[in-house]
Every structure is written in C-alpha cells, then in structure tokens.
C-alpha cells in the first residue's frame, strides 16, 4: 500500500524508512511550497490555523502522487490539532477522493484503537509485531540523530565566517542521513555529519546575542511555516535556541518529564491552568529563558492559534516582570519573508542596544 505522512522539519527521513520497513511503499510528499499553501488554503476553513492548511495541502499533493493511506497524529484537545484528522478526512471525501487518513491518538487514552490501527498497518504490510520492533529502533535512532544534527547546525551558524555555508553543509547532511539503514550505519553517518559541521570555518571570538524561540510546535519545527526563522537569525549572527524539537516532543508525549514540570511551575504565577497546545509552555519557557540570561524571546504562533493568543495576552506582564524583551510573530499564509526579516532586524538592533547599555 502507498502510505504518506505529513512533513514536519526533517523527520520525513526517519518516517520514510519506518514505512518502508513495515512493508509499505512510502510516498514522501514534496516539501511544502507556495502551491501546497494555496491548495491547503483553498479547501480549509478560513480561520483554521496554518498547520491545518499546510497539512491539508500536503495531503492533497500526496493524493496526487497516489497515496492510499495517510498516517498522522491526533490528540485530545483542547487544542484544535486533535481534531484536524477528522475534518481533513471529511474535506477530502467531499472533494471526491477515497484516501483514508489514519490518526494515532494518545496511546494512554485510546490504546485499543491505537493497537487495532497498528495491527491493520502490519497485516496489510505482511509484517509481524517483531518486525515492527525491529523497524522502530533504527527509525527512532534516526529521528534522534536528525534532531541532534539540526540543533548543532544552529549552534554553529552564528559563528560561521562565510555566510550561508552552514545551511549548505546542513543540506548535504540531510542527503547523507537518507542513506543508512541499520542502527550502526546511522551512528556512523551522524558522526560524518557532525564532523562536516564542525569543520566549517568559525570565528569563536564573537559573542552573539542569545534569543529563545517559543510557541506552537509545528511552526517552531517546520522551516517552511516559520520562513526559516532560525537560519535567518543565525545568518544575522544571532545564537538562537528553540524550546521544542520533535524528538523531545515525542518523548514527552509518552511521559511527562521533569523538564516539563519545571516549565509549568515557572508559568504558575502567570497562568494557573493548562490551556492546551503549548500555551503554558510559552509562558514558562519565557520565564526560564529570562533566568538563563537570554537577551530576548521570540514567540512564534499560527494566526488564530487559541492557546498562543492567551499566552500573548499574558506575555507583556511576564516580559515586564522578568525584564526580557518578547516579540510575537503570528504566521499566516500571507506572511512574506521581507516583512519578517525587517521585524527581526529591528528586534535584534534593540536587543544589541540594550546589551550595550548594560555593559557601558
């Protein structure tokens, strides 16, 4: 069967391998482009958030490529993302396609449903549970390696001497990571990539501004949705750290970590209720970035994202109390790269002045 899945950052490399190992044919939809966006926007509700629109566009492109089944993740609210799958299925049916969207909700809450969907996938791929276990391990390792490489690239970029070199090397790394199959090969490939990144000529004498990036997970991770914000910052010579990456998110989805508890505790003076999505994280992480001595925080969120609007309403107070500048960027299908670049430059200039004043 031809199986497709949503694009989120560089994770497609790992998912592609997992589906292949489960005996299906993976359909990797094209990286999101303006066409994806306009396809998605055309058939989505007007006020759906941007991840909904990008995903729907991606699904429609995957259907054009012949996908029979689309696998995605669900949720239990109150963020709208948990209901994406059902509405998207209805929209796709309305357009006359018979492609099925299979949604994996949280294992803890709907484990029967989870297992039956999984066993259906295995049965149609003529694989056993043991095969799943075997296939899962390298895919997990790959996901982790990909995350580490990406994180490292963001650490290198602000120090690069030839602007744009890190991005070039990073692209090459993704190609390299597409090859290996076994766990050992993945480890070797990762080491090659790390070495390539390390060998980029760097000027370690710089003392870049430090910006924390918080907000909604999809627009944080998918560079198409955030107009490649982190690379843009890096090339402006700013060190940036993202509060979430895919591997940690998957891990935290299964079990609440100590880190998560700490975030919620930091947010408590401002927000006393979990409001779904990553609303409370945005508050807590801003407090934590302030305590870690970051120069500023950028909140990234899709336009009309409910939890992030609540967070945005509270952030000015947090910013005032903690003495950390916060800029919110709401992303929608109209967002242009130049507008974003201008806002970033202005924000970075302000942060630089603030720092200069402090040390003057």
């Amino acid at each position: 069967m031809k199986i497709s899945f949503p694009i989120m950052g560089n994770s497609y490399i790992a998912f592609k391998q997992l589906i292949k190992d489960l005996g299906h044919e993976p359909i990797v939809p094209p990286m999101p482009t303006a066409r994806t966006m306009s396809l998605g926007t055309m058939y989505s509700p007007e006020f759906a958030c941007i991840p909904f629109k990008i995903l729907l566009g991606t699904y429609l492109e995957a259907i054009e490529m012949g996908a029979d089944v689309i696998v995605s993740s669900g949720g239990h609210g109150p963020c709208r993302a948990g209901y994406y799958g059902i509405l998207q299925q209805k929209i796709i049916e309305d357009l006359g396609y018979d492609t099925k969207i299979i949604i994996f909700d949280s294992f803890a809450k709907t484990y029967k449903d989870f297992i039956s969907k999984l066993s259906w996938l295995l049965k149609t791929g003529k694989k056993s549970w043991w095969d799943l276990y075997q296939a899962f391990k390298p895919a997990w390792a790959k996901l982790k390696a990909l995350d580490e490489i990406e994180l490292y690239s963001h650490q290198v970029r602000p120090y690069e001497i030839n602007q744009g070199e890190t991005t070039k090397v990073y692209r090459k790394c993704l190609e390299i990571m597409d090859e290996p199959v076994s766990k050992l090969q993945i480890k070797e490939a990762k080491e090659v990539c790390m070495k390539m990144l390390k060998e980029i000529p760097q000027d370690k004498s710089r003392n870049p501004l430090k910006i924390g990036i918080i907000g909604e997970i999809y627009v944080l991770i998918e560079p198409f949705a955030n107009l490649d914000l982190q690379a843009t910052l890096g090339e402006m010579g700013v060190y940036s750290e993202r509060s979430m990456n895919l591997f940690h998110w998957l891990k935290e989805n299964t079990k609440m970590s100590r880190h998560e508890k700490k975030i919620i505790k930091s947010a408590l003076p401002y927000l006393r209720e979990k409001i779904g999505g990553h609303g409370i994280n945005s508050i807590g992480e801003t407090v934590m970035y302030a305590q870690q001595g970051f120069d500023g925080v950028i909140q990234l969120a899709p336009f009309s994202c409910i939890p992030e609007i609540v967070a945005k309403g509270i952030l000015p107070q947090v910013s005032h109390d903690q003495g950390i500048p916060v800029m919110t960027i709401f992303l929608d299908e109209m967002m242009g790269k130049a507008g974003m670049q201008t806002r970033l430059e202005a924000f970075v200039d302000l942060l630089q002045q603030k720092r200069d004043l402090k040390f003057a």
Partner: protein
C-alpha cells in the same frame, strides 16, 4: 455593615449560568451587580484592553470587567473548565486562561474570585466549588448549603424556560425576581430557521445587531440550540466519529444534526465570531453536513466589532427570499452556501 458588592460581567457565561450564581450570592447576603448590557462603551473598553488577536467575545469580557472594576468590591470570574462528566470536553482554551488574561491585561482590578469550575471529577463537584467560593468570602455552614440548593432550583427552572423557547433575558429576569414567565407567543410562520451558535453571540442583541427582532419582521421563526430537548441533543453525538473538545461547540454541532435530521427547519444560519478558533472547525463541519444531508440551505454570519446592521440584514433578507423562492418553485437544487 455595608453589603459587599459582587460583580458579574454580563457576557459569556451570563446567558446560561447567571441565575445560579445570582441566587447563590444573593442568598449569601451579597449584592450582585452586573455590567450594563453590551454597548459601544464597554465594547470600546474591551478593544482597548485586550490582546489584539483575541476574538470578539474575549474582548467583550475584558470590556465588561473594565466597566465593573470601579463599581464593585469583588469580581466573580469563574474559571470554567468542564461542566460535564467527560474527560475530553472542556471550554475553549481562551476561557480556560481567561482570568489570567484579564488579570495581566487590566490594571487596577479589585479582588478577584476565580474559582475553577470542573464538574468532571469527584462527588458533588459543584457543591465543593460553591463551598470554596463561600470560604473565600468567609462564609460556611448551613447558609451556604441552603443558598446552593436554592441556586440549583433556580437554574433548573431557568433551563426549563429555555427549552420552551422563552427569550434568555426574559427568563433570567423572571427567575431571579421569582415571577412566572409569560408563555412565549404563538407564532404563525412559513419559514423556520435554526439560528445556531454560542449563547454569548445569539442572546446578546448588541453583538448580533438585533438579529432576532429583524428575523421576526421577516416573518421567520428562529430555533436555537437551547430549544433542543437536552436528551435529544446528547443523542446526536453518534453522528461524529469523535466528539469535539469544546462544550459549546458540541452543543452547536449536535443541534445542527438534530435540526438536519428532524427536518423541522428550512435552513440553518450559523452565527460565529470573527477569529473564533473552535468555530473554524465547527463551521466547516456544519457546512459539509448541511450539504450532504438533503442539501439544507446554510448561511454563515460572522460578527466582529465592526459589524454593521445593514450588512447582516441584507444577507438574512436575501437568504429568506431565496428560501421562499425555492419553495415557490419547488426547487431542490440551490447553493448550500446561501
């Protein structure tokens, strides 16, 4: 001793739960003060205070609180989380964070009681919440129990009135003064329309620019979510593979299914607020269901702070005209977009 004044914003939860809280606080010996019905003044206050991306109802709530803040000693803004014993059904995330949003946006607020109302866990959760609220006001003992029971009775009576089709404001006035409500007028009409949406839009005639009076003038009988018998409303859950996560949204989508399958109405109007998150999903679901269930005519009216009466009236008038035209020509194929 001067009587303590408790403020209750006349928006959002006011339209469905006010009789309960009014009776509860009055019986405890406090004076309950509501803000004025929504008007340009408190709307402007709300627009000035609220984060710009918020939807109209949230801005209104801020406005009502800002209007009340100098008039009362305590503002009661319950944190509405869950009102039913269901694990995944909560209120919109904006409501969950509302007391925090208000507290961090408006300066110079009086004391706030933001007790969490979560009726999904434990025994007698509402009683426990009431007891906590009373404790914050230094009250305990039998008087709390009695107030609670009176409040429950009052709310029950109110809910019954709503299913009969009494207007919300009349029903509230009737139950809190203890009078009997006049029978709703019998209304002979050829057009029945389901006007579905959240109570704070449907029953706030400033926000919906007097839509209901205007519908009456067009000779239309409106049917609302609250007029669906509660047990029938619940039974509609079977039509969706997964319930929505938001209480009011579930009520709206279930009412949609009810009216679609009962075939009692000639068309459906969905009233939504500009920028409403849950409604982005609900509206599309309603549109698709209306299309696939007998091509029921469907119209979405989106309200915001700049909504003009003329624009809304024109759209309703055109919609009603088309329904009459369709009937005259016995034509079944009509755009479901209205």
């Amino acid at each position: 001793m001067v009587q303590l004044k408790i403020g209750f914003p006349r928006t959002l939860f006011y339209f469905l739960y006010y009789p309960f809280w009014h009776t509860f606080f009055t019986e405890l010996g406090y004076q309950v003060i509501t803000s004025q019905p929504t008007n340009q003044y408190n709307l402007n206050l709300g627009i000035a205070e609220t984060v710009n991306d918020a939807c109209l109802p949230i801005k209104l709530y801020h406005g009502h609180v800002a209007e009340l803040k100098d008039k009362v000693d305590v503002i009661f803004m319950p944190r509405m989380v869950k009102v039913r014993k269901m694990e995944t059904e909560v209120f919109c995330p904006k409501f969950l964070g509302l007391p925090d949003m208000v507290r961090n946006s408006i300066a110079g607020l009086p004391r706030i009681i933001d007790e969490k109302i979560d009726l999904s866990k434990g025994r007698y959760p509402l009683w426990n919440a009431c007891r906590n609220i009373a404790k914050q006001l230094n009250q305990s003992g039998f008087v709390v129990r009695r107030s609670y029971q009176k409040a429950l009775k009052c709310q029950e009576k109110f809910n019954k009135y709503l299913t009969f089709g009494v207007g919300v404001q009349e029903a509230i006035d009737a139950v809190i003064t203890g009078q009997d409500c006049p029978e709703p007028q019998k209304f002979e009409t050829d057009i029945n329309l389901a006007i579905l949406g959240y109570p704070y839009l449907i029953y706030d005639s400033f926000v919906n620019v007097g839509m209901f009076e205007r519908l009456g003038k067009f000779g239309v009988k409106p049917w609302t979510v609250e007029m669906v018998p509660p047990n029938r409303l619940e039974a509609q859950a079977k039509y969706l593979p997964k319930s929505l996560f938001w209480h009011f949204s579930n009520r709206t989508i279930r009412a949609t299914f009810y009216y679609l399958h009962e075939q009692r109405v000639d068309g459906i109007i969905h009233v939504t607020a500009f920028g409403c998150g849950p409604d982005a999903m609900v509206d599309k679901l309603m549109e698709l269901e209306a299309k696939h269930t007998g091509r029921m005519p469907f119209l979405t009216l989106s309200l915001d702070e700049q909504t003009g009466a003329a624009g809304i009236y024109t759209r309703i008038e055109a919609f009603v005209d088309m329904l009459r035209y369709r009937r005259k020509n016995n034509e079944n194929i009509l755009s479901h977009h209205g």
